[in-house]
Symmetry: C2
């Protein structure tokens, strides 16, 4: 078994590497035809896919998975229509590959530029949602890459059925079906082997819980783009428009509390604490939010409960908010440096100097002035679809779109120059 | 000992992380004053530095190190003058930090851009040359980073003396001396501990032999930018100007054969093999190059010796060249895909379509048309000084300058927008 898994995963990686060369050479038109053919075939073969999905759902019920898990696993007509729309959207996005930027002529006479090229082979490691299979494949292929997909064991029949359709569509348009591979072995050893294929895989993107992501980060010899969690702060400065601050805090906390760009901790400048804390806590309570406050917050708002040390830096992903009164901008930035997760941090202020200091000095992948943290998203930023988000700084920092699935190589146009 | 090393290295990393915040907030003027103060102090304290260097040289002689090794280790007046000039050059380079690019207003009304910011803490792991201590520190600091330096044990006194000067100069200009740290523990365990500090270090750059680089790549939890070797090819196409081809091949092989962008393998289109192989082999032989050829090469040039299988893909770093006759452009690109090291590949051709196919499809960090592979260099490309070269595709692909020591975060300018 062990050596079989090793061999199977290695062979998949080798085949993906070979297929990636064909993908890199595909024209934009051909890549778009592949994506649209995939969309058409998903619609045509919907009932086949749903039959395979039913096997996963049956197994999930037998295992007693939660209703929420089963919901995420279900390939309803609406979910499949969403995948089809996603493929069509990605086909409509501009192709980043081939752009040459910064062409300059050097004193030697050579002309040097940087050409955007595909990364090669991207491995996606994710948990239960089978729609990631289609969404991730679409973005990887559009950027000229081959993709290896390793979803959760509970979605294996669904993922294999979806990938079979994607592979047939690739073949039908003259592509190499091995540009989309699903790792069919569901035990974790397959992931470990996958993460050692640094000769054949260029990038790993894990998506799921912190446990999965830490496992990938610890075992990978391949570069990993990841974020563990989103502990987003808003700092309400002394000069803030308090109506605006309340509106933004409510939106950032309650508009969709279970996502990584939702607000988890509110910091309030002491000068406006007595004016702002009572009203914002009351508004939050009305919206069903549990407020866990520092001692000063408690003294200003009796509806708050006492925060414990573990509430600072905590990703609640729920209608819970930590609130702390701080002495000034520096204290707010110190709190963020200590407890933040380099995801998204926002200041509410009317003081230009403070806004610019916060913008420059806060180390996070998104830093905002007078806006809700919920805007931290590839679609909202105009990247088109989003393949994930990175809170590590190498290669990409923040939401990642098509461009982040490419790299740039140097191209040199000479006329016989030699180095002296 | 073991737990002492662990503690010492961890503490250095924590201090570097703290110092990196001060570095990130420094103005361009202040960073330049630090660099120029370093240059001045290196000159002032030259004799102290040379006294410490003498200890390393004595130990090297006692250990029987080669003359070449001792030469690399020696901090002669000329080497120190080179470091001083390097610091002055880096001070004169434009500061990449703070640039905001691609500002766009989104339909929601928020304005989104990308701000170039320092990476944070960069660790350099290198071998004998103590000048790397100064050159690498200069680039890391100019890009607003803190730097941890871990040179070879044989240069430890020199590295500590150089770093002491750099730290004093930082302090004299109001900076935090911990922005430059030298790991003084010389056994390899210190490197292993360093490579686990993913919370405190953002990037590792190893420079040295393939053994060191593989050790770093295998043990690091921190992203690594590296290249193992440079196996550069030139393909002489059927339409090549053969005078130009000969000139470029000679330059690429002989101008400085011991470096990673020197030519290691020449591929010749069969249509011009009988016209080109005899003359280029004769010219190479006159220049003292040993030519190891395929069977067809041997049949055309009696001065060549037979290549063995291990000569394809070999980095000779010497006056040795592998030569192979290939059927066409596709065969040349297949050879490069199989044996290349993603460093630098060049085509000599007058056929525009072939030139563009080679440029697009060859997967290497530098791809050239009608130019010597020796141009693959940060200075030649106009990047200013070079911190290293990357043949992995994440973050940087090719020569790395100041910009590659930074990343980009998203900045959002709002006026109270919330997400609907």
């Amino acid at each position: 078994m062990s050596s079989n898994v090793q061999q199977l995963v290695e062979e998949m990686a080798v085949r993906a590497r070979a297929a990636s060369r064909g993908m890199a050479a595909m024209s934009t038109g051909q890549k778009n035809r592949v994506l649209l053919r995939m969309a058409a075939m998903l619609t045509e073969r919907k009932s086949e896919i749903q039959q395979e999905n039913a096997k996963d759902l049956e197994a999930a019920r037998a295992k007693g998975l939660s209703a929420a898990m089963i919901d995420r696993l279900t390939l309803s007509d609406k979910v499949i229509a969403g995948m089809v729309a996603g493929l069509e959207e990605v086909a409509a996005l501009p192709d980043p590959v081939g752009e040459i930027s910064r062409m300059v002529q050097r004193p030697s006479g050579i002309v040097v530029g940087r050409m955007r090229v595909p990364l090669g082979v991207v491995a996606m490691i994710y948990e239960s949602r089978p729609n990631v299979t289609v969404d991730a494949a679409a973005l990887c292929l559009k950027a000229g890459n081959a993709v290896l997909l390793r979803g959760g064991s509970e979605a294996i029949h669904s993922n294999l059925a979806l990938a079979a359709v994607l592979r047939r569509a690739l073949e039908a348009e003259g592509g190499d079906p091995d540009a989309v591979g699903v790792v069919s072995v569901t035990d974790r050893q397959a992931v470990t082997v996958l993460l050692q294929q640094e000769e054949h895989i260029d990038l790993v993107i894990p998506r799921g819980g912190e446990g999965l992501i830490r496992f990938v980060a610890e075992h990978s010899r391949i570069p990993v783009l990841k974020h563990y969690k989103g502990v987003c702060h808003i700092f309400v400065d002394a000069s803030a428009d308090l109506d605006m601050a309340e509106r933004i805090v409510l939106n950032a906390k309650t508009q969709r509390p279970g996502v990584c760009n939702a607000l988890e901790c509110l910091l309030v400048h002491r000068q406006v604490a007595s004016a702002f804390v009572p009203r914002v806590v009351a508004a939050l309570r009305r919206a069903g939010v549990e407020v866990r406050g520092c001692a000063e917050t408690l003294s200003l708002a009796t509806e708050a409960v006492a925060a414990s040390d573990s509430d600072w830096g905590c990703e609640f992903l729920d209608l819970v908010l930590a609130v702390r009164v701080v002495a000034d901008l520096d204290a707010a930035m110190e709190h963020i440096a200590r407890y933040g997760s380099q995801h998204t941090e926002s200041i509410i202020t009317n003081d230009h100097a403070n806004a610019m200091r916060f913008l420059r000095q806060v180390d996070a992948s998104s830093v905002m002035i007078n806006a809700s943290t919920r805007f931290s998203d590839g679609g909202q930023y105009g990247l088109g679809a989003e393949i994930g988000i990175s809170t590590t700084k190498l290669h990409a920092y923040g939401p990642m779109g098509l461009e982040e699935l490419t790299t740039r190589k140097f191209v040199v146009f000479g006329e016989g120059q030699v180095r002296s």
